[in-house]
């Protein structure tokens, strides 16, 4: 999984701490989300997407094989 959090956070001029405060999580969670090392709950994914004013499917990017059903 890759995410565009870092890019969009910079576009909105937000620090990791600002985003953490906005969505109500700890800063480490944002760090691991940005690195693609943490799969958030659906609720947190939606909150981050809303904070960055983007659709959730445009924020979290998966390889085709990861989404294979």
């Amino acid at each position: 999984m890759r995410t565009r959090i870092k890019e969009l956070r910079a576009r909105h001029d937000l620090t990791q701490e600002d985003l953490a405060k906005k969505v109500g999580v700890r800063r480490e969670t944002i760090v691991f989300l940005e690195k693609g090392k943490y799969n958030p709950s659906l609720l947190l994914a939606m909150k981050v997407a809303r904070a960055l004013e983007i659709g959730v499917e445009e924020l979290f990017l998966f390889e085709d094989d990861e989404l294979e059903v």
Partner: protein, 148 residues
Amino acid sequence: MTTDNDKDRIRFYGIVSVVALVVMTWIIFAATVVKNGNTQGAVVPGIIALSIAALGASFLKGEWGNVRDGIPLDDERSQRVKDKAGAWTFYSGIYLMLAMSWYDDYMLDSTGTAAFRDASQALGIAIICLAALFGFWYWYHNRTGEVA
């Protein structure tokens, strides 16, 4: 109305009290050992008390910054880290108990004296080791970030 930040502040004071209580317990233990005439025996409990006080102060300083800035003490990721650390502490705790049991038998066979004075001492040591294991696994999983 109580906000989440108010709850975090109350929890923070609770954590401060627990850390202070643990440090005081070790200090009292060290003082009792000294009072019984075993000054050297108080070195290890003294070092443990100082280590917990130093690590605790550094941890609490960081957490106070978070609470003051409105960042939660706990979130879904830290909860998952805690769950995973708890599970790993359980698995490694089984090996710890086996190791302690083996060590006790080994000491009894080789020196004729059991490693632990009685069941209460063995239990105390096991509890301290389990707490240390939990701390280690929490640190490890939090650092590696492998909590899915």
